[in-house]
Symmetry: C2
Subunit: 281 residues, 2 copies
């Protein structure tokens, strides 16, 4: 298993903090440096033991790192990657944890120097929780991390990033940034939009009749609005396409209900059940 000397984590919230905690608990590196923009968050990160030291100075924080993981909101990742690339060791490996990839990865291909070793990652470990206090060294155990190398990625670098996530207990797979974004729009971004629309449909007068079904179906609508504005707009095309596909499925169901077409409705509900049961419990 690869061991690292110094891992720098930019953004020490739920994901960044959990990565730091896992690295330290598993003894996978000598030092975890936490980098953030608020002294308060960094103090909390040190207090919860998610990093071994911390700094507000991005350039100083990444200077000696051999691995740098960018865990900031999606809208800030390319900006941070550029700043990191001009301050880190030339042989440092850089990855991120952003939940859309095409915009980030393709922009950086034109903005980073050719030798920069950046590979996009997306750990599927979202939660409506936030902040260093929620960090959990086992957050990534058995979770999927998608790695999105491109034609310009050195094979060995993709392999190192894969090993890094594996060493935290995660499962990994590789996809192109485009394939990742289309799939995640369907499995995560469109469901978020749908859950939000559903949550907004109910008002105080329905409150006594809220049961576990509604609670489950709308749970992700509790996520941070600012974070999700960022995510949804960074994958706008694929999200729009996924929502259109969803609306088409919904229209068919509504048409069958409106027409009291038992047979069509049964077939549509059965297709949905098969699709659900094939994937998850």
């Amino acid at each position: 298993m690869t061991r690292w000397d110094t891992v720098a984590i930019v953004g020490v919230g739920l994901i960044g903090g959990s990565i730091g905690l896992a690295l330290r608990q598993r003894g996978l590196c000598r030092e975890v440096v936490g980098i953030g923009r608020r002294a308060e968050s960094l103090r909390a990160a040190e207090q919860y033991g998610t990093v071994s030291r911390s700094t507000l100075d991005l350039a100083a924080g990444v200077a000696r790192a051999d691995l740098i993981v960018i865990c900031t909101p999606v809208g800030q990742i390319t900006e941070h990657a550029r700043a990191i690339a001009s301050a880190c060791r030339p042989d440092a490996l850089i990855t991120d944890a952003g939940s859309s990839k095409q915009q980030i990865v393709r922009e950086l291909e034109f903005q980073l120097a050719r030798g920069t070793r950046f590979i996009g990652s997306h750990p599927l470990a979202g939660s409506e929780k936030r902040g260093p206090a929620e960090a959990d060294g086992n957050l990534l155990v058995d979770r999927m991390v998608v790695i999105t190398p491109t034609e310009l990625t050195a094979r060995a670098d993709a392999e190192s990033v894969r090993e890094f996530w594996s060493s935290l207990g995660a499962r990994t797979c590789e996809m192109s940034p485009e394939a990742h974004d289309a799939a995640i729009a369907i499995t995560s971004h469109c469901p978020h939009v749908v859950a939000a629309a559903l949550a907004s449909t109910a008002g105080p007068s329905e409150a006594p009749l809220i049961a576990s079904g509604w609670r489950d179906t709308t749970r992700i609508a509790s996520g941070d609005p600012a974070l999700w504005v960022d995510i949804l707009l960074s994958n706008r095309g694929a999200v729009t396409a996924a929502c259109q596909q969803f609306q088409q499925e919904l229209s068919e169901l509504c048409r069958a209900i409106d027409a009291a077409d038992e047979r069509a409705l049964f077939q549509l509900l059965e297709k949905a059940k098969r699709s659900r049961d094939a994937v998850a419990n």
Copy 2:
């Protein structure tokens, strides 16, 4: 607390079985008679102790009961209520557990003799599980049961039905059948349609990227298709109205995403989060 002599339960699946188990465990009646259409289900019900005796003969099963609870699928409830009314004691109290109320309650107002003591109920304790093996004597504890008396209901009868559900540990409230159906369309029926559409949107190629958000949002799509055809069509008008309201919320979100309107998207997601957080954790 009211004690009953003989409670007859028509349909001994998850809900009927759980009611029987709760009555017996809490010592609330002398005898629980289970009535069903398949000898196999009745044998299972006796075996799991959810009823003290059972019969395939509806008329014989209800003949001596002072309380009769109809727990069959929504589409069969009025038919069963008519058969029960002509076979039971004239002073027997009849209620049901159907998840839509207007069609059932209003039809029965014209079909049952004036003296028949029928009051509609809806225990909000759905589950994607089914069958007597899943019965749980605590299923109704702290769950909401909506009772839907009408202008024709004797106050004392509504009170007896309320006490019955309370004695099983449930919370209760009263609504008109129409208000119940409009509210439940928003909190249960429309979410079911939405979850089904979402489940159908994902295919095998997205399977590796399925995470907990998708699993939660689509969980109810695992419910029995035949049961849900029944439920959705029995509340067709209100379901259609709720789905239209949902589609309008969704369109606004999609419009903001498509236009990359950060401010509008933030406000919509924040409204959704407020609505979600006001109601549930």
